[in-house]
């Protein structure tokens, strides 16, 4: 075998383990789900194999599913914007701090050492009827009776922001770190104030990180089902909760499959649109 042939083969050899894992653990199960979505759940318990459009018809026409899907996307969008607004200043601060950057990054990672479920449940101790906030307000005398602050859409968003903020901060941090600090100095020397220099130079150059963080937050938020279960009320179900409900509670695998594919397609299309207009390639233009 010539050197060229060997070199042409090398990337494929290196990719084999990852490709194997993706095919076996992602592509194959996805195929099963697609096939399942066309089966029929029968009252007897055993599903009827075949090509039926009933599940899809129900998923696509029932306004119940449509409303929850739209609300899920809204919650994901609000969460993403909140993460961006809270995460950008933090990422900027870490990227520009000299001595203690490593400590700050470790602190940022620290929440990942604790289970996501435990972290989400911690809000019950803070916002619950006998939680820290209520106790404190009663002690000060602002209120006489504890207020029910939990189990609504706001606490769901709060929990999601809590969960997703580190992803946003890390993505923005990485892109800020790649920006030469001389650029801001150059902008300032040319007459731009620090704020003008930031808007003209640093912010546009950090957009790829902001966009990547935003995409990650949006997709993760839109697919979540634990947070609404723990922090949401009975009417705050998100779309993934419907999938869970159909498959685990009602044992209706065909309908659950159709619903989960629906979410997958909607998110996939949104990612494609996002990539088209705020795409990484577009943003990376001019960055060399």
């Amino acid at each position: 075998m010539s050197i060229e042939q060997r070199e042409a083969r090398q990337p494929w050899i290196l990719l084999t383990p990852a490709l194997t894992a993706i095919v076996l653990l992602l592509i194959v199960p996805l195929m099963f789900i697609i096939v399942y979505s066309f089966w029929l759940k029968s009252a007897a318990g055993a599903d009827t194999p075949g090509f039926f459009l009933d599940n899809w018809q129900e998923a696509l026409t029932d306004p119940f599913y449509r409303d929850i899907l739209l609300n899920t996307l809204k919650i994901a969008a609000v969460t993403t914007v909140a993460c961006a607004l809270l995460g950008y200043p933090a990422a900027y601060f870490i990227a520009r701090s000299k001595g203690n950057r490593l400590v700050l990054l470790v602190l940022l990672m620290l929440p990942f050492w604790i289970s996501y479920i435990i972290r989400t449940m911690s809000w019950i101790n803070i916002l619950g009827v006998s939680g820290a906030l209520n106790s404190a307000m009663i002690w000060i005398g602002v209120i006489d009776e504890p207020i029910q602050m939990l189990y609504n859409e706001t606490t769901v968003i709060l929990g999601l922001v809590h969960f997703l903020l580190p992803f946003m901060v890390l993505n923005i941090f990485v892109s800020l770190e790649g920006i030469d600090t001389n650029l801001e100095d150059a902008a300032n020397s040319l007459g731009a104030t620090r704020w003008q220099g930031f808007l003209q130079v640093t912010l546009p150059l950090s957009l790829p990180g902001l966009a990547a963080g935003g995409l990650l937050c949006f997709v993760l938020a839109a697919g979540t089902y634990i947070t609404p279960v723990i922090l949401g009320g009975p009417r705050d179900a998100m779309f993934a909760n419907l999938v869970y409900e159909a498959i685990i509670r009602q044992l209706n695998w065909p309908l659950g499959s159709a619903l989960s594919l629906m979410l997958l397609v909607v998110l996939g299309v949104l990612v494609l649109i996002y990539n088209r207009y705020l795409g990484m390639a577009q943003l990376a233009k001019g960055l060399g």
């Binding site: 100095d185 020397s189 040319l190 003008q196």
Partner: protein, 362 residues
Amino acid sequence: MSAVSLSNIVKRFGDYTAVHQMSLDIEEGSFVTLLGPSGCGKTTTLRMIAGLLDPSEGEIAIKGKRVNDVPIHKRNLGLVFQNYALFPHKTVADNVAFGLNYRNVGKEEARRKVAEALELVQLPDLGARYPKELSGGQQQRIALARAIVIEPDVLLLDEPLSALDANLREDMRVELKRIQQSIGVTTVFVTHDQTEALAMSDQIIVMSEGRVEQIGAPEEVYNTPATEFVAQFLGASNLLSAKCTAVEGGEIELDLPSFPRIVIPGERAPGVAGTGPVRLVIRAEKLHLHPAGSTAEGMLNVDAIVENVDYQGQSARYFLRVGDHQMQAINMIEDHPFAAGAKVALRFRAKDCAALPVETNP
């Protein structure tokens, strides 16, 4: 009134003092170089003038006005960095126009000024390109255009040529000097490269360990180094221990083993006050090698042995032994260089020598 004046500037980073009590006056329109090895405080000094660092003590004035408390964006300075620091997401024209956006310049006038600046750096057709599409030399010209288009009071250049490869660096050196002279802007240039400093400057400030070692015109700094550091940093010098035996009639008499008596003019030894131990400085290129046994009138002659030869094409650097002294000489090569081990006659003029007082290390 000087364009830039520093008085008793001190810069400390924690316990470390980067610049000690520096005072300096830079004349309007001149090209001044801060020269020294890395860590000597030259870039720190430049960044203090720019307003990127605050001095710990002392005062900085630009055109007679104290600027210690003036933020960088109000100082009206042109700043050029070693890594160009062009805005990668803006076109060349937008890069050059950047500073004009913060000045009261109309659109039409801005376009004209950008075109003029690009013309001046001889890249008039690149306005629509992005920085990454340009070569390093072109990027540095654009960075220069961006800095001068705002008509700065002072142009500050932080090692602007160091990232370029050798041939390009020489071209850019000439180019930079031409542009500076054509617009007459006061320029402060930071470099560790003595060739750049000698070729471009009206005045060189040699720095070492946060202190100014010498301030003078290139020829002055080169020919009459004020300290051992300057003698060794600029060019290849031989520093020999000698004894001053007499100071008479503006002349200084030096005595050292293996050499004849050397009488040098007093202006070549301004720091030597009286008799006693001194350091004799002879530039490597002022020592001429000739076949052994030959002598010449009006020159000092010494026997030497070539220990090693560093062949450099048009010239050669010889490592010599004269008695107990190790010396270096750099000569142009005619026909063939002398070989290692050869006995040679070493000739030099007394007036090419300089003498320094012996430095007592604190």
